[in-house]
């Protein structure tokens, strides 16, 4: 991975105000207590990697941040807006928070360009020409401007995921959430997606990434968070996290994924 990215670690950058605050947040699926007492404070410009075994609640946690999942207890405050049942607030938060999914979720009935301009046109009320110009700019950044007229079904997985990233960026979000963005990709396509994410991180985007790409975590993360059974077990800067894990659960997890 791109080691030069280490030159911009959190210690040398001035971080901004809190963008996302989770306070004593709990969530249940029926009887099942999926998230227990989550406390998280993400500063503007901060890059956070969330890892942990499957079923530990990583995805559920970041999906609560743009209210794709509802929390039942505690507070979630995003860009100063508290997430409640208020639909207008939820939409306002979603406008400022981009999300990239494991399975891309591109709209198959729209071209790549239309995928990118749909929300800017209908939500941001941008003129079509302007929205298209912005979309082309981001498609160039993810290095697939030549695919703009194609449909998602005609692209490879890696290309689709890069389009999905561009689609989110077109809304000029303040925060990007990545929900296992490389888990559904073939090995040789993982790199092209990670390269785009690293570039984004270097430009100062606030990011929360759920991922098992430990190389990515070492390269760009300001903080690594380890979750298990719905709780945040450990939280540290990458160097400490990987070299000197505190809890036994973290040590076991790291030994399992770094064994090969």
């Amino acid at each position: 991975m791109n080691e030069s990215a280490n030159t911009v670690s959190s210690t040398e950058r001035a971080l901004g105000e809190s963008t996302i605050e989770l306070r004593q947040m709990h969530k249940w699926y029926g009887e099942f207590h999926v998230l227990r007492d989550i406390n998280l404070d993400v500063k503007s410009g901060e890059r956070i990697v969330v890892c942990g075994p499957s079923g530990s609640g990583k995805s559920t946690m970041i999906r609560c941040i743009n209210r794709l999942e509802e929390h039942q207890q505690g507070d979630i405050i995003v860009n100063g807006t508290e997430l409640t049942n208020d639909l207008k607030n939820i939409e306002a938060v979603r406008r400022e928070v981009g999300m990239v999914f494991q399975h891309f979720n591109l709209f198959p009935h729209l071209t790549v360009l239309e995928n990118c301009t749909l929300a800017p046109i209908w939500v941001r009320k941008q003129p079509k020409a302007e929205a298209e110009a912005i979309a082309m700019k981001y498609l160039e950044r993810v290095k697939i401007p030549e695919q703009a007229g194609k449909y998602p079904g005609q692209l490879s997985g890696g290309q689709q995921q890069r389009v999905a990233i561009a689609r989110s960026l077109c809304m000029s979000p303040k925060v990007m959430l990545f929900d296992e963005p490389t888990s559904a990709l073939d090995p040789e396509m993982i790199k092209e997606v990670l390269d785009v994410m690293i570039e984004l991180a270097q430009e100062g985007m606030t990011m929360i990434c759920v991922t098992h790409e430990m190389g990515f975590a070492k390269t760009v993360a300001d903080r690594v968070i380890f979750m298990d059974e719905g709780q945040i077990i450990e939280e540290n800067v990458p160097e400490e996290f990987f070299n000197n894990p505190q809890s036994e659960r973290t040590q076991l997890f790291l030994s399992q994924i770094l064994a090969h």
Partner: protein
């Protein structure tokens, strides 16, 4: 073929039967021969039998007078009209109930399908009970039931329900309404109506280009509704009510004058629509459920509100799943309309395929005509639906 272990020349049979391409040709030739033999012998058999009975095969009877009455005819018809004219009346009655049924069943079906997915427990269960009841009872029973309700539970002519102080009446003989007589000035109202539609279309185009240029969104739907209703109303008042209404009045045993929707049409139309709507509702539900929830999530994560997510993301994709089975339902509805004969609605089956057939004894000719007519109607429906389906098809790799 030749590169096998055996050095011997393959036999003719092996050449024809073990080669993939040759076998396909052989099978097609054999199938064609069997088909020609089968239909040829059927036709020959029919010709021999008709000759033995001393009857030719001719459509000349279509010119003879039909000598029966048809109570609902949208084109001129009397008992002295020809069988051909009776057939046309029947065709128009079939088309009327089929088109009206397709429109109503589509509206009801889409509404029910969306309600069936509602998170509201009561709404969801009501739609569920309705769909399961309606689609599990034969459509003939629905037709008889609704016809029975109209004929038996609605008042007789003398006690007809009087709607809007003597303008319309409901009795077991149908819904009697005033019929309009258009005065010359009415053409301005008509012009206003057409003008409003043109205006709405232009406004829609303008709104689109405005959105493309500046991003501003105009309330196209409400402006259009207002124009299409408002302009004709203004023209109507300005030209001094240029319509003479002919009101139905009770004369003797029934209402005279005005227009009437007969109980047979009403029963058939409602029964076919309600029945088919239940199936369409399930198609719509299946179509919406077939769209991965990730699509909704991605759209909402971009900040699109719920209604826009439905209109811009979910429905366009769901239509691809909904349209093919929807065509089948339209075909079913059109063909089920032949059950009209059970309650005496004079459709094409009841006229040329029923009374005309019995009176002339021309069973072969009448059946061929009726089948040809249903075939044409059905092929037209599937042609239109296939065209639509092709237009909305997904582009894959």
């Amino acid at each position: 073929m030749s590169a096998t272990a055996s050095t011997a020349q393959p036999s003719l049979f092996a050449k024809l039967w073990y080669d993939k391409n040759n076998r396909s040709i052989v099978v097609q030739i054999l199938a064609t021969i069997v088909l020609i033999w089968f239909f040829g012998s059927m036709v020959l058999n029919a010709v021999i039998n008709l000759e033995a009975q001393g009857r030719g095969f001719s459509f000349a009877f279509l010119e003879q007078p039909a000598s029966y009455d048809i109570n609902q005819h949208l084109i001129p018809y009397s008992s002295r009209s020809s069988h051909l004219q009776a057939m046309w009346v029947g065709i128009i009655n079939t088309l009327l109930v089929a088109v009206a049924g397709i429109i109503l069943s589509t509206i009801l079906g889409f509404t029910l399908g969306v309600l069936r997915l509602s998170k509201n427990w009561l709404v969801n269960k009501l739609a569920y009970v309705y769909i399961e009841y309606v689609r599990n009872v034969p459509v003939l029973l629905h037709i008889l039931l609704i016809h029975g309700i109209i004929v038996h539970s609605l008042p007789r002519t003398k006690e007809a329900w009087n709607l809007l102080s003597d303008t319309a009446f409901i009795s077991n003989r149908g819904l009697f309404m005033p019929s309009p007589e258009f005065l010359p000035m009415f053409k301005f109202v008509l012009a206003a109506f057409i003008g409003a539609i043109v205006f709405a279309w232009l406004f829609r185009r303008f709104a689109r280009s405005l959105q493309a240029r500046t991003g501003t969104q105009l309330p196209v739907f409400w402006v259009s509704v207002l124009a299409i209703i408002g302009l004709p109303v203004i023209a109507f008042i300005a030209t001094g009510h240029p319509i003479n209404w002919e009101y139905p009045t009770l004369k003797g045993f029934n209402f005279q004058g005005g227009a009437v929707i007969r109980p047979e049409f009403l029963a058939l139309w409602l029964a076919l629509s309600l029945y088919t709507a239940a199936f369409i509702a399930e198609n719509v539900r299946a179509g919406i459920l077939a769209i991965d929830h990730g699509q909704t999530e991605a759209s909402m994560a971009l900040g699109l509100p719920r209604n826009r997510t439905l209109n811009l993301v979910v429905i366009p994709q769901a239509l691809r799943v909904i349209v093919p089975p929807l065509s089948s339902q339209y075909l079913n509805l059109a063909k089920n309309s032949s059950l009209a004969i059970a309650i005496g609605y004079m459709d094409v089956t009841a006229t040329i395929g029923g009374i005309s057939l019995n009176q002339t004894g021309r069973a072969m000719e009448c059946m061929i005509l009726v089948m040809a007519i249903y075939l044409i109607i059905s092929l037209t429906i599937s042609g239109i639906m296939n065209y639509y389906n092709k237009r909305i098809a997904l582009v894959e790799r």
